[in-house]
């Protein structure tokens, strides 16, 4: 079972790394979501899998019985899924906004936050304006 998990996690990570290499943001976001899934599986395995006895305390007992499944990784994964979903939703909204405002979802084509102008200020009188030369 661990082997199967390991292979699945490996495939997910490989796919996400491939997507991270893409130039456009939606692909990178999908890569992030896949990587999140891989890590969720990793946490599940880290908590030891094997038992299929549900983590419920029987009516007469006060503690979990021996051999029940570990409930903690499930709680962790649940938290991580919720957080990951929230972050992905926010990132997606940013991407949509960038498409609307700048008409592109490729970071290199934006050049709003970085670039010569932002770095050097504006050309002083008498100095060649590099922006015009480029255009």
């Amino acid at each position: 079972m661990e082997t199967l998990f390991a292979i699945t996690i490996g495939i997910l990570v490989a796919a996400s790394v491939y997507l991270f290499l893409a130039r456009d943001l939606p692909r990178m976001l999908i890569g992030f979501i896949l990587l999140g899934m891989a890590v969720n599986l990793l946490i599940l395995v880290a908590g030891r899998i094997g038992s299929i006895v549900p983590a419920l305390v029987p009516a007469a007992e006060t503690a979990l019985l021996q051999g029940t499944a570990n409930p903690l990784p499930q709680a962790l994964v649940l938290t991580a899924i919720v957080i990951g979903f929230g972050l992905a939703a926010f990132a997606l909204m940013l991407i949509v906004k960038s498409q609307r405002l700048m008409g592109t979802v490729i970071p290199e084509e934006m050049g709003e936050a970085e670039g010569d102008e932002a770095a050097t200020g504006v050309a002083l009188p008498g100095e060649p304006d590099r922006r015009k030369d480029a255009a």
Binding site: L42, P73, L76, T79, A91, A113, E117, A118, T120, G121
Partner: protein, 516 residues
């Protein structure tokens, strides 16, 4: 006592909730926000004096015994960080009433600002590594919102870079947490610290350490994962940039210091040189990055990176003096750097621009601003008798004592280059004559549309003066601050004390109201 322990979490949480309810009423939001920030500062000071007097304060949430529940632990180091968080919250809450306040508040600045403070305070006070992850996320999502507050093209672009890199950082953190849980079977930091030296597979533990170093390093903007910071910070509105510069990267530094003194302290031989090299590279790349820029905000952003390197020296060397130096440096840096960003906002209001080439002559028209700029600027460069000198002095002396001569030499020369950068801002913005009729517009650097009112001017100048006075105080009356840093360092190196404080002392039973 129990209530005081969670006061730094409750206060910003309530403030965020209440200001969110009064979404369209800035007149109600502002006093509430300022009051919450003052309360936070007050409760943090109370916590610091308590932690100073009786050692680490521990509370088990919900009465669940450690290591099963979530532990809140505030030792001297955490308390120092909480006090400085409160201080920054007050300063920025006042400054945010300055120019542009109306637009900011309409966009939801207040609830997001307090959520950010909540995340930061939570990260400083938790004793549970998964809980630390959750606080990181609270902080992160609030910072995403704050960064793109004005929704300009520039901000969306900068925001995307910031968001994407930080998302990957959080995944690394989660991966590290998962593997650490697999190795130790616990998430409580004290319990992990107890078990870590006994783990058979030390190689796997080192791998976890590297994963966490990448995750925290991405937050702290260390070499080579700092690119998001200069791409994003200068696009934010000035109060937001100031609080980011003050707190966000420092949460990463805090996490590195906390985790590496607790969990990986027995493996200094492996991590020491790695962190040392990272520290040097961070210092050097940051300062050279700053040298090539002419926008005040971008110069300051690059200097954040450079200064992070100094804070890592303590963890690289792991001697008491080095760690005390790091703690002192973090405190000094937060005050000085936030103040420089606040001053950058005022430079724009007074001089019209952020770009150095279009600024000039401010010394003639605004000598007070010039003086106020010189205090944090020279402190950042490490000139005596300002606070930065003592921070650098402690770090470099620790380096020489540990015979890490290259590290100490790099730290010294980077200080010199920092001075060069600060003098550049001084020469261009204050000293040189104002350029004749600056023409053309640059995205994100348009002159302010309206002149500011007296009230706005007061709101901008008061926090700057207060922080400058604090910088002078730390510089001239260093002893209590140095003693606090030493106490924090001793607490950090006393792993056994931390473990015992969390995992069972009489004090614990008392704090949890006798639930055993």
């Amino acid at each position: 006592m129990q209530l005081l322990l969670i006061a730094p979490l409750l206060i910003p949480l309530c403030a965020a909730g209440i200001t969110a309810i009064f979404w369209s009423r800035p007149d109600i939001q502002r006093p509430i926000g300022l009051a919450a920030a003052c309360l936070l500062l007050g409760s943090s000071v109370a916590l610091l004096s308590a932690a100073w007097a009786i050692g680490p304060l521990v509370g088990q949430m919900g009465g669940w015994r450690a290591p099963f529940g979530i532990t809140i632990i505030i030792d001297v180091f955490s308390a120092i960080m909480l006090v400085i968080t409160g201080l920054m919250a007050v300063a920025v809450a006042i400054y945010a009433m300055g120019p542009g306040a109306v637009e900011r508040d309409k966009a939801g600045f207040q609830p997001l600002f307090h959520s950010l403070i909540l995340g930061v305070a939570g990260a400083f006070s938790t004793g549970d590594i998964f809980n630390l992850y959750v606080w990181f996320e609270v902080m992160l999502i609030a910072s995403f919102g704050l960064l793109v507050l004005d929704r300009t093209r520039e901000q969306i672009d900068g925001g995307l870079r910031y968001v994407m890199l930080n998302l990957v950082g959080t995944i690394f953190f989660l991966m590290g947490v998962g593997l650490l849980y697999g190795l130790t079977g616990t998430l409580n930091l004290a319990d992990i610290a107890r078990l870590a030296p006994e783990i058979e597979n030390q190689g796997a533990l080192a791998a976890v350490g590297v994963l966490l170093l990448i995750a925290f390093g991405a937050k702290a903007a260390v070499f080579p994962i700092f690119n998001w910071l200069p791409a994003a910070y200068h696009t934010a509105s000035m109060p937001v940039a100031a609080i980011f510069a003050a707190l966000l990267t420092k949460v990463g530094v805090y996490a590195i210091i906390r985790v590496f003194t607790l969990i990986f302290a027995h493996d200094t031989a492996f991590f020491g040189p790695i962190i040392g090299v990272i520290a040097m590279a961070t210092m050097v790349t940051g300062v050279f990055g700053a040298a090539s820029h002419y926008d005040v905000r971008r110069i300051l952003s690059f200097h954040i990176i450079s200064q992070i390197g100094y804070m890592l020296v303590g963890i690289a060397l792991m001697t008491p003096l080095a760690i005390a130096g790091s703690v002192f440096y973090v405190v000094h840096h937060i005050i000085v750097k936030a103040n420089l960003f606040l001053i950058a906002g005022v430079i724009r209001e007074e001089g019209g621009f952020f770009g150095l080439r279009r600024l000039g002559g401010l010394w003639v028209t605004k000598p007070l601003l010039g003086l106020l700029f010189l205090i944090p600027a020279l402190s950042l460069a490490g000139l005596p008798p300002l606070s930065g000198f003592w921070g650098k002095f402690a770090v470099i002396r620790a380096g020489l004592e540990a015979e890490a001569y290259i590290l100490a030499g790099v730290a010294l020369s980077v200080g010199l280059l920092t001075l060069f950068s600060m003098i550049k801002i001084w020469n261009e913005a204050f000293w040189k004559a104002a350029p004749v009729a600056p023409t053309g517009t640059v995205k994100g650097d348009e002159p302010p549309a309206t002149r500011w009112t007296r009230r706005e001017r007061a709101a901008s100048y008061v926090p700057i003066m207060a922080l400058a006075a604090l910088t002078l105080t730390i510089g001239l009356w260093t002893e209590p601050f140095a003693a606090l840093s030493m106490a924090a360092a001793e607490g950090l190196l006393d792993r056994q004390g931390y473990i015992e404080a969390v995992l069972g002392t009489p004090q614990l039973a008392e704090l949890t109201g006798g639930v055993e």
